[in-house]
């Protein structure tokens, strides 16, 4: 399996991907690189537009000392314009529909360099802008995680393709091969299924042969008197018995094949589903943020289902079709080679016709699919928005729109029916033509045979009538395999696309890896230390810039600051959802990277702004924190969370089903259930992220009371925009643009003249028309 995985994941290199998809240079030309021998190149970008918006091959290169613009001359050499980095005082990026502009200015706002480029170069250009701005802002050069400028360029250019496609763009044969690897644990069943299929195919060739045998070897000799009636009868009974046995065996093997392969296909699909789902839970949050939920769900669901279909039926059907055609060819040529050739030679042409028809149908289906998607857009737009439709009295317009699209889809599907219903009779006519050819060439030879036999009693001239009839019967068997083989490419593509998508998940390695001998923190005290922590989600834009703080066990810390400043990121890092870029985070003096993941996360509780409840009862949701908790403990937690009373008001109380994502509860109720869940967890480190922001004042009061019960005796990090909710915090950390700009108690910070916190307090007081006590 490992070898198979290796084959399939033999990814295209970045250079190959750029060549394949982007058709632009895979790296800075060597000729240019040589010119910067003495300077280290930090990043560079391709410039694909000249000033007149014609495609060109220029480059912009940022070295440690300068910015260079290399414009390509007509003789493919480059002309360099160089600006020292310290002369660049600002950079401005202007985006158009498809053309962007990056302008570098000096301290007098004079233009130094202007470059124009398509969105394809956006990421690498933005990185250049970011690096220049960082240097201007921080006074020192920002060091990228990736040191190699070629890799950085390739990564920036290829990101959208990789995100859209998948990391496993391996070849189709390798994917099928890897898929077959999943049959390995079911070798016996596969063997049985295949043997049954092969035997079924071979045996199903016998009845036609027997028909010929009955005519040529029983009836004809009886007519000529070479066999007696009793001999003929006896041999006929034997033949009929043989025919019964043949049919019994055909059905027996068909049953064996279908049963074995269907059940085995289900097991293979189950194995894949288990493997994908288990693996999904090992993956880091960054993987989930880069993929759409629907896409991930379909990988576990419909993709594995398609694979089942391929494994259970596709493989066998293809095998038996090929075998049938080969068997037919051999038998027919063996029986009579000139007639055999008449039947066998058209096969490639018939296959080609089916293949071409398939391609044409694919185009038509694509069109129908597009129209179908427009129709479903109509539904997904108006049904959730039905209130707006009614409020603006647009039901009639929406109905008309739907009717138009519906008619268009129907028209398209009818076109498809027109084409396929025309094609198959034509194809069948072609096959009938083969049959007629067999008659045209066969019948005179049969007459010749019969005449010669009558005259001489010899059977060596012409075509025996039995052989001719066997031919006619064999011809009936040859349509289905042609059809299956003609559609082979389409079916394999469908299955391998699904397999690709499943393997992509399986081949993604988790970013967060536990050390070999991790430290168990049991119990955790809750001392949290950040030392010069820097972090970015995408490796470019720093979200946290050198954050340091030391929090004692049991302290309550309020994290405040404007949105996007990095507060939630700090809490994400404490739970090790992501690994930091530089600095260190320790809990109880142990580096977080050395702590066993289970012992870390089992002692962290989170109450988020939009609490997520699972489909199930309220009891299930509270117990999610601790499935072993007794009912007493559950009620105790709910009471502490101010949730017990409202829960008891429901007819089914704790056994009430909350619906998908807890939809049947109000926002405040969901929040209190989530607090009860956190209380039951009894975490040593508690994170409250905007826990009261989305509720009314009365509910907020109740939640606040619940939170007061929850925070005592634990280290707490609370994020809140409503500063009034943080007054009981021991200390406040003010986070601004990724930096810890102020820290202290509420009363200390509010006194700071021009302090960020003081300003925030004042702004909120003005907004609310009341004052927070100082």
């Amino acid at each position: 399996m490992k070898l198979l995985r290796k084959i399939t994941t033999a990814k295209l290199s970045s250079e190959e991907m750029i060549n394949r998809y982007v058709s632009q240079p895979e790296q800075l030309p060597e000729e240019l690189k040589k010119q910067f021998n003495n300077e280290s190149i930090q990043v560079y970008s391709y410039v694909d537009f000249d000033n007149a918006f014609n495609l060109c091959g220029d480059w912009v290169i940022l070295t440690e000392t300068s910015l260079h613009f290399a414009s390509m001359n007509s003789d493919d050499t480059f002309k360099l314009k160089t600006v020292p980095r310290d002369e660049i005082k600002s950079v401005k990026e202007v985006s158009g529909l498809s053309a962007n502009r990056l302008v570098f200015y000096d301290s007098d706002e004079q233009v130094l360099i202007v470059v124009r480029y398509s969105h394809r170069q956006n990421r690498s250009m933005s990185l250049i802008k970011f690096l220049v701005e960082q240097e201007n802002e921080l006074g020192k050069q920002f060091q990228l995680k990736q040191k190699n400028s070629d890799e950085t360029y390739q990564q920036k250019v290829l990101t959208p393709i990789k995100e859209a496609q998948a990391s496993v763009a391996g070849n189709q044969a390798a994917v099928v091969w890897r898929l077959l690897g999943y049959l390995k644990p079911y070798k016996k069943q596969v063997g049985l299924g295949l043997v049954a299929a092969v035997l079924m195919t071979i045996i199903s060739l016998i009845p036609a042969y027997l028909t010929g045998y009955v005519i040529d070897d029983l009836i004809k000799p009886y007519q000529s008197g070479r066999l007696t009636l009793s001999e003929v009868k006896q041999m006929t009974y034997v033949t009929i018995a043989g025919l019964i046995a043949v049919y019994l065996f055909v059905e027996l093997f068909a049953w064996l094949r279908l049963k074995t392969m269907s059940i085995m296909g289900e097991w293979v699909a189950k194995d894949l589903r288990d493997e994908v789902y288990t693996h999904l839970h090992k993956l880091s949050l960054s993987f989930f943020s880069s993929k759409q939920t629907g896409s991930l769900i379909s990988r576990v669901g419909s993709d594995t289902d398609r694979i089942w279909d391929f494994v259970a039926f596709g493989i066998v059907e293809i095998t038996t079709s090929v075998l049938t055609l080969m068997g037919l060819a051999v038998v027919l040529i063996y029986l009579d080679w000139p007639l055999g050739l008449i039947v066998v030679l058209p096969i490639p042409f018939l296959l080609l016709a089916i293949y071409k028809h398939g391609q044409n149908m694919q185009k038509m289906f694509l069109k129908a699919w597009r129209k179908w998607s427009a129709l479903t857009d109509c539904l997904s737009d108006t049904i959730p928005g039905v209130k707006v439709v009614k409020a603006f009295n647009r039901a009639k317009d929406e109905t008309n729109k739907f009717n138009q699209r519906n008619a268009s889809v129907t028209g398209e599907f009818n076109n498809i029916h027109e084409v396929w219903t025309r094609f198959w009779p034509v194809l069948m006519l072609s096959i009938r033509l083969v049959v007629i050819s067999v008659w045209v060439f066969g019948v005179p030879r049969v007459i010749e045979h019969v005449t010669h036999y009558k005259e001489t009693g010899l059977t060596n001239v012409g075509l025996a009538p039995g052989v001719f009839i066997a031919f006619v019967i064999y011809l009936r068997m040859y349509v289905r395999p042609i059809e299956v083989i003609g559609q082979l490419a389409r079916n394999i593509t469908r299955a391998t696309s699904s397999a690709h998508r499943v393997f992509e998940v399986l081949d993604t390695e988790p970013n967060i890896i536990e050390v070999k001998q991790p430290v168990k923190l049991e119990p955790m005290n809750g001392a949290v230390k950040f030392k010069d922590v820097s972090f970015s989600y995408d490796g470019v834009r720093k979200i946290l810039k050198g954050i340091s703080f030391d929090v004692k066990p049991g302290e309550m810390i309020g994290l405040v600051g404007s949105s996007g400043g990095g507060k939630t990121t700090i809490t994400n890092l404490m739970a090790r959802f992501y690994d930091i870029d530089s600095g260190s985070i320790s809990i109880d003096g142990v580096d977080i990277k050395n702590i066993e993941m289970e012992s870390l996360r089992s002692q962290i509780g989170m109450v988020l702004q939009d609490p997520y409840l699972f489909h199930g009862t309220i009891l299930d949701n509270i117990r999610y924190a601790n499935p072993e908790a007794t009912l007493d403990k559950v009620v105790e937690a709910a009471k502490a969370a101010n949730a017990h009373e409202f829960i008891c008001r429901f007819p089914h109380a704790y056994d009430t089903i909350v619906g998908e994502r807890g939809q049947s509860l109000s926002g405040g109720e969901r929040q209190r259930v989530s607090i009860a869940r956190a209380i039951l967890r009894d975490p040593k480190l508690l994170i409250l992220d905007e826990a009261t922001s989305a509720v009314d004042t009365e509910t907020e009061r109740k939640i606040q009371q619940a939170l007061d019960n929850l925070v005592s005796g634990r280290t707490v990090f609370a994020i809140a925009h409503r500063l009034s909710t943080l007054q009981q915090a021991d200390r406040l950390f003010v986070i601004d643009k990724g930096q810890l700009v102020e820290k202290g108690t509420h009363s200390e910070l509010v006194k700071k003249e021009n302090g960020v916190y003081a300003k925030l307090v004042k702004m909120q007081a003005d907004l609310n028309g009341n004052k927070i006590s100082v």
Binding site: Y21, V22, S23, F49, F53, N54, L55, K92, V94, G96, L97, S98, A99, R101, V103, Y105, V111, V114, S118, H119, R120, N122, P160, I161, A164, Q165, A166, A169, K363, M364, L366, K367, R370, K371, S373, S408, T496, S497, H500, R501
Partner: protein, 169 residues
């Protein structure tokens, strides 16, 4: 209003009349003459596809609108030229003149086209359909966000192999 204030306004109006209202800056911005000074502005067409040359907003770097142009012909000639140049850049997209090949592969649709700007290869997601504009033209957005505009779908040289059939009603 005192006399000196009136004189100041009058002299400002005279000065404004002497200046071209809008002109191009070498960095690609427009310069709008406003209250005695040229200010850097960006051109933002309100309806880039419905009516690209009307309803144009001139905004400063903070996104604040300093001038709204209803129709181009309300401007003096040099200003019109400047705005037209900026309009070209703001609304620029690849203009497809020939479809060479369209292929599907795992989760991607790959396009090979000839554009007025040169040959280009791009990709779209399988479920991202080309958009038919109200005027019947076609617009395709690739994975990077670049736009490919097909003005004349009936042009016989555009798609000799009928590759666009699936995308046209």
């Amino acid at each position: 209003m005192n006399l000196s204030a009136v004189k100041k306004i009058e002299s400002l109006e005279e000065e404004e009349q002497q200046h071209v209202l809008i002109k191009n800056h070498e960095d690609g911005h427009l310069l709008l003459y406003d209250k005695g000074d040229y200010k850097k502005v960006e051109l933002k067409p309100c309806f880039p596809w419905t009516t690209p040359s009307r309803y144009l907003a001139l905004v400063n770097s903070d996104g604040k609108e300093l001038k709204f142009i209803d129709k181009l012909d309300e401007l003096d000639e040099p200003s019109q030229k400047a705005v037209q140049q900026a309009l070209y850049e703001a609304g620029f997209c690849f203009e497809v003149v020939k479809i060479d090949k369209i292929e599907e592969e795992f989760e991607l649709r790959r396009w090979w086209v000839q554009t007025k700007q040169g040959p280009r290869q791009f990709q779209t997601k399988l479920m991202d359909w080309p958009r038919i504009l109200p005027n019947g033209e076609m617009l395709i957005q690739d994975l990077y966000g670049d736009l490919f505009h097909i003005k004349d779908l009936k042009n016989s040289n555009l798609d000799k192999r009928g590759l666009l059939t699936a995308f046209i009603d």
